[in-house]
Symmetry: C2
Subunit: 252 residues, 2 copies
């Protein structure tokens, strides 16, 4: 059973301030908890229904992870999901170590992506397209936000991120790598060739890429429009751009 | 000022049953209301703040659409948006007239897309890629749901839809048109040629395309995966498939 203090601790992790202070975040729902238990993240505690624990005891017990059995009502009180009849995990955050695109690698740069749902979707898309590194401006949504973790559908366990001054990274790359940026007035991605190494920069939902980042973009690219919608959601745009980059890289 | 009866009427339109009964639906937020007032939809009433009305009176007055001035608090009480400091419109639903793909036209078939956010996103993507017709299975989310209208970002004014028995439509097309269906085991969309006429079928978020619809698919197609995510969201998948179809059709 969940103690009052445990409940209070878990609820504090809904907020960025306390996630930062405690160095921990929440993973919620059956599939995400199963994925995190099979990843290299370090889990502090699992709170689970009797049924979930019985089915997944092999995942917790071999790592000697403490488990508290709780009712569905307690799980939902502790966590952020509207419905959760399985489990939640309290997981240690990772160190904010530097990330750079290596040769033959495309990395993502997110310049001020504010919506947690969009960020979670982008993690999932990066994972589908084999992008393993995401560099985030400090103003980008917190990846440890429960909404991001949930929207990533487990992909947060397979993608690495770093938060910091992305202009600094780009200025230090010294123009040696291709830097593709999504703009409304760039080259058509259906005909644009793409290098196998470099960065793809995606900008803010309303304002796009900031000028201080845009100055390092070596090739502006645009998704061709065949109809009348004014814009595409940034998650959708990321998916289409990565699809075109992978296609170009595989010579199709 | 909004009367008690008006408030009650507007609130009833949050529910499908009453939208159907009254033949009306809600459009909320500045941009969506502006778009619907410039479309061929028939608007019954606009509820607006003083400021929104002053800026947009030319849109309502030339069509003699009644306007009620309301406070932000009243707008939010009447509507479904968490914040709305501009306007909402009560708009007449359209007749459910039949739709078929014409020569040189790609139309979408949605087989049991349940999430209103996904449906709204798909309307916006269809609008971007110039797809003008969406045929929906009866179990697909109601397009007049305020969440769909809101997620479509105004694209609901430029895309047409029909709800009914999609298997019937496909069986009557008699194999004369290409029917592309999104599956996990289909042909790679990066190399697959696409006809200029036909249907693209997208299936349910969890279960994909139903067997009774799948039997009419003439070409199963798949988005190639380069990483480890198990799946893509149906909105994202629709966008990538339409991007590949338009690209193939334009000979790139």
């Amino acid at each position: 059973m969940l103690s009052k203090n445990q409940l209070k601790y878990i609820q504090s992790l809904h907020q960025k301030k306390y996630r930062h202070q405690h160095g921990a975040f929440l993973v919620e729902g059956a599939k995400s908890v199963q994925e995190v238990l099979q990843s290299n993240f370090q889990t502090e505690l699992v709170v689970a229904t009797e049924a979930f624990y019985k089915e997944n005891a092999h995942l917790t017990d071999r790592q000697r992870i403490p488990v508290e059995i709780a009712s569905v009502a307690d799980l939902e009180r502790a966590g952020t999901l509207e419905s959760n009849n399985a489990a939640l995990a309290i997981v240690r955050t990772k160190e904010n170590g530097p990330l750079l695109a290596e040769p033959d690698e495309i990395a993502l740069i997110l310049d001020d992506i504010r919506d947690p749902g969009n960020l979670g979707t982008i993690l999932r898309i990066a994972d589908w397209y084999g992008v393993r590194k995401i560099l985030c401006s400090e103003t980008t949504a917190d990846v440890y936000n429960p909404k991001v973790i949930s929207a990533s559908k487990g992909s947060f366990t397979r993608v690495n991120w770093w938060y910091g001054d992305v202009t600094n990274v780009l200025s230090q790359s010294g123009g040696q790598l291709a830097v593709y940026g999504a703009f409304l007035d760039g080259a058509d991605v259906h005909t644009q060739p793409f290098a196998k190494s470099g960065y793809l920069v995606m900008g803010n939902e309303s304002n796009g890429i900031r000028p201080e980042v845009a100055q390092y973009v070596t090739q502006r690219v645009t998704i061709p429009r065949y109809g009348d919608a004014e814009s595409l959601n940034v998650g959708i745009a990321t998916a289409i751009l990565l699809d075109n980059i992978r296609r170009a890289n595989s010579g199709q």
